[in-house]
Amino acid sequence: MKSKTLFDKIWDGHVVRSIEDGPDVLYIDRHYIHEVTSPQAFNGLKERGIPVFRPGKTIATADHNIPTKDQHLPIKDLLSRNQVEKLTENCSKYGIELFGLNNPKNGIIHVIAPELGYTLPGITIVCGDSHTSTHGAFGAIAFGIGTSEVEMVLATQCILQPKPKKMKIAVNGKLQKGVTSKDIIMYIISEISTGGATGYFVEFCGSAITSLSMEARMTICNMSIEMGARGGLISPDETTFDYLRKLSSIPGLVDFESALNQWKTLKSDPDAVFDRELEFDAALIKPMITYGTNPGMAMAVDASIPLSDQKSSEASSSFIKSLDYMGFKPGMKLLGHPIDYVFIGSCTNGRIEDFRAFAEIIKGRKKASNVTALIVPGSKMVEAQMISEGLVEIYNNAGFEVRQPGCSSCLAMNEDKVPPGKYAVSTSNRNFEGRQGPGSRTLLASPATAAVAAITGKISDPREFMSQEINIKK
């Protein structure tokens, strides 16, 4: 039999029909939906007069467009309120399970779906959100889709999709202290650029990847879209199985042990062929920060902004435009640059380990007076765990207020906006112009780098706050 990559094995096992010269009809095991990209899809079903084909395979949450304060009160913004109400209406009409606002399991879809046991190895997952790639951390094929495709999946549980090419990215070696999975993925994106993996599905492997926790793996896969990849995945191993074993339930799974035997086979064959292979040395990676307006414009926190675009001798007009927007100059160092906001949260870094890492640094210290901090758990379950582990107390003692869960300032659809011209060190995934509010200037970084910025009020190197090996979760 021909050798196959893990991606091939899962994909090929889900093809209902291959269309000659066309896309594959791919069966979808799990469909996640939220309030922003689903209403037009439900309208489409209504116009066609058809039901949701398999409502039991879809789950829903309200996350993008909700406030992170006073969630028990009606949403103030009328359009946002209407959108959230539409989701509730549609879920009840079509029989879809909703983890809506004020549900104890509510949260960002990419945080709650793994917590609730919906995300599993070997399955196919789609959601009308590009960060669906997160779920690849479990060895699943998971990718973001548009609203027309959401309608397609609601109507038929299938999607028409051309099969992407395959890329292998190996990260080998030992990470330096203070370097986290966020830094690994930001480093890779800075090396291959924001379109470097467009057209590919990426398998991450190597000793620096397999040593990571599930939360850290989710951060890596989450940002694979930021290098253009269709998605990213990691072969499931004991770390994955331990995570799944500890869940209180796995909906729809009949027998864990027989599933486990199948999951253990989910590996690329040793001689499987990828269309492109890259390898990185983990020891070379430092804590990273972005300096421009796309995630590929990133560098080590102690480095200087390059003089031109990656791999070109001349600075393009797009590069100059980007630095102008940020108020930076080529060649400038960012260490010590004052900042105004810090945001920790999002589907990239809104899990319990991220808040532990942040707490580790702020414990016994105080928030800088010039910094406004937005501390937003990724889900109600993360929030509850922060309380039970005493993290909320640490945050409060250091002068930080913990908000209620949601996507919040990652895309600033709600009130959590960074004002024009202000600098925000953010643990989210995109530093696009205006992403955190019109005119906002985003500097993407890990929770550790965000934490040192929050207590010093300026861009700082987290390694300087770690005199000995402290327990920062990777």
Partner: protein, 200 residues
């Protein structure tokens, strides 16, 4: 449900010579609260089109009456970032029927094809030449022939064959709909479920 068919397009172009234009620029997140597909064109490139004060930004190409047409010509890696289909709805609603670049992000490409907006990939060199020509002479016209898969700059005769998935081409030419097509395969899908579905 049948969709609008794509015919031969002969038109002037609007140049947007920036690289990595992400979907947050095409339609900022704060305009995504609507629950219908209509009206997004008003906020296309909102934060480039309008100043912070709310006035029109005369420096931005959409506010320059010299440049009109049904084709948007943009720098490489167009449509990266968020999967929001609203970006395509905004471009289409504004009146564009094709976007030309040397490189598109995957999800944007799929969303475009699903909405009758034709994404056309042309070589980097030709893109640069075209952008320069339009800047110099806004009356520069192009011809897009989907059947023949050709993109031609009429004045110079520069012509390239562009790629498109044959299935998608057929859908665009005939106004066919993916969901109708998938619904016609229900029996196959049910068969698949009974033998292979991994989770209930």
């Amino acid at each position: 449900m049948p969709k609008v068919k794509f015919d031969i397009l002969v038109t002037t172009c609007v140049p947007l010579p920036f690289e990595n234009v992400d979907t947050d620029q095409i339609i900022p997140a704060r305009f995504l609260s609507a629950t219908s597909r209509e009206g997004f064109g008003d906020n296309l490139f909102r934060d480039w089109r309008y100043k912070k004060t709310g006035e029109k930004n005369d420096d931005f190409v959409l506010n320059n009456p010299k440049f009109t047409g049904k084709v948007l010509v943009a720098g490489k890696n167009f449509g990266s970032g968020s999967s929001r289909e609203h970006a395509v709805w905004a471009i289409f609603d504004y009146g564009f029927r094709a976007v030309v670049s040397s490189f598109f992000a995957d999800i944007f490409m799929a969303n475009s094809l699903n909405n009758g907006l034709l994404p056309i990939v042309i070589p980097e060199e030709l893109l640069k030449k075209l952008l320069a020509m339009i800047e110099k002479n806004p009356a520069t016209k192009v011809n897009i022939d989907l059947e023949k898969q050709t993109f031609t700059i009429i004045a110079t005769g520069d012509s390239v064959k562009f790629g498109i998935n044959p299935y998608k081409k057929e859908c665009l030419l005939k106004g066919l709909d993916d969901i109708d097509f998938l619904l016609s395969m229900k029996d196959l899908i049910i068969d698949y479920e009974s033998t292979k579905s991994l989770v209930k």
